[in-house]
């Protein structure tokens, strides 16, 4: 049966309106990042700018010394390094532990899973005070390593949960067959399960990375200089200053959104199927 004409028109109109609502703020961000300062602060607003300039992007990419651009670039590098480190650790721990939770029988299995979930649910604000006191004692404040340690505690329970759901959704027969053929459990995990789990691993790693890229509270408290400050903190600092350059914030915001936006769009399929297993199994 084909949907009626009225229905088709309705859904397309709805999709168009939704797209406009979603894209308009992005368009404004893009507009603000390239028009001249006089256009930006004119009143009434000029919808068609008189000047178009890439100076702000130039400043972010090439500004040296103590400029906002240099601070921004350092924050970007920090975010990438912290994110990559966290993904590496939490994914390894999550794959191994997730396999155990999905496939092995041992006492207190459910309790183990739940205790990880509780650790994940604990609001950061609860842990942050003792963590701050501890880190200041061990000299971990304002270091990337310190931030990675903290972020791993956030990302690992999540990776564990996701991977265990994913492994659980794979047919057990495959692994049994490999074991009949003489593989050990770990051998079967590495040779049979892992290659099949690429979508789950991709989605989990991506989530973990986005989690780090987005995290704000820990980074705000634990970092203070360009040595470890991540991108959200750098942007919040831009906005907090007096006499702010709105165009520069817009340009910085767009650039900071680029990695997650590109990753999300490219790996959309994995992300959505990852969500699907999470939703159905969770």
């Amino acid at each position: 049966m084909r949907p009626t004409r009225g229905y088709r028109i309705f859904i397309h109109a709805a999709a168009l309106v939704t797209s406009i609502v979603i894209l308009a703020p992005f368009a404004w961000l893009l507009y603000s990042s390239v028009v001249g300062q006089t256009d930006l602060v004119s009143r009434p607003m000029r919808w068609v700018p008189e000047h178009v300039t890439l100076a702000r992007y130039r400043e972010i990419f090439a500004g040296g010394g103590t400029s906002a651009g240099a601070a921004f670039r350092a924050a970007m590098v920090n975010s990438v390094l912290v994110g990559a480190g966290t993904v590496l650790v939490s994914l390894t721990a999550g794959v191994l532990g997730g396999y155990a939770l999905a496939r092995l029988r041992f006492p207190l299995r459910r309790t183990t899973l739940l205790s990880f979930l509780v650790a994940y649910m604990l609001p950061p604000i609860t842990l942050i005070i003792p963590m701050y006191l501890l880190m200041s004692r061990f000299g971990l404040l304002d270091t990337k390593a310190g931030l990675i340690v903290v972020y791993c505690s956030l990302a690992t329970p999540f990776a564990l949960w996701n991977m265990s759901n994913f492994f659980g959704s794979l047919p057990a027969e495959l692994e049994d067959a490999a074991r009949v053929d003489g593989c050990s459990r770990l051998g079967a995990l590495v040779r049979v399960i892992l290659p099949l789990s690429r979508p789950g691993i991709m989605a989990t790693g991506l989530y973990a990375f986005l989690l780090c890229w987005d995290e704000f509270l820990y980074s705000l408290i634990f970092t203070s200089t360009s040595q470890a400050k991540t991108i959200p903190v750098a942007i919040a600092e831009f906005t907090g200053r007096n006499a702010v350059d709105f165009g520069l914030i817009a340009a910085g915001g767009l650039l900071a959104s680029l990695p997650p936006v590109v990753l999300t769009i490219v790996f959309q399929r994995y992300l959505i199927s990852g969500l699907a297993t999470g939703a159905v199994k969770g």
Partner: protein, 325 residues
Amino acid sequence: MTAAQTSRPAPVSAGRGAHPPASRRPRARRVKLGQVRLALLLLLPAAVVVFGVVLYPAGRALVISFYAVDSPFPGTYPFVGLRNYTEVLADRRLWTAVEHTFYFTAVSTALELVLGLGLAKLLAAPLRMRWLFRAVVVLPWALPTIVNGAMWRWILNAQYGVANALLTTLHLQDGYRSWLGTDPFLALNMVVVADVWKNTSLVAFFLLAGLQTIPQDLYEAARVDGAGPIRSFFRITVPLLLPSIALVLVLRTIEAFKVFDIVYVMTGGGPASGTQTVTFFTYLQAFSAQRFSVGAALAYLTVLTILALALLYLRLLRQAELSAP
């Protein structure tokens, strides 16, 4: 996951009978022991990474909340018992922050759920260029929260923001107004708008995943029986989506209750503390006023509230599942 577990033929459970054959017992036990040891080994990294970092601070925060710690340096601080708790519970500022938090949580979660449900239906609809629409809808979700906050702060800017320019040009409002600067309630609502704009797409994709598990034949059958789209939405989609809806509700509520970053960057808690949430208030107490113990007490009260909310939801979910046809 559990289904996969129980449906597997498990040699281990054979040894659990009341009187197992004596000859099978040692072997079964060895298999089981081997599995337990392997499981422990595999879970060890995750346990070290998580509990090594979480457990001590979680306990330590509880201890700190009973003392009067007012500097980050090690030293001896007086034990004050429950005084931090009683003091903070008597603080009017906490209760206004609680009010804001509940308002923010309830309104943003409700809006995200309703809009997200519609959007999920739209994402599943037979659209031309559906891939493009999906790519557009995923954008707000990918946008970092801080950038989202900064963006809305700039859109709503009192002098040069596009919201004022647009609404004035369209004669929907008389003149420029200060969205975030003067009226606390208006500012709080604008924070809600920014949060809903970003998180609705996450909710929609989450619900879409649940939507795709509903068999199409059900809709066909309903249509044959003469049910319109609205009727089949409320009679088929909503009941079958209930587990996903409940899960989204729990996750979003907990997330919204912890809200901090978007408030920090959009309003800084102002105007007149009108957008201060519980987490923001805790942050100010601990890190601006250096009253670490008061902050820890507040944090523990937050944990208890979140726990209560989660339990409440799970109970509601179980009841809904039981009463479902």
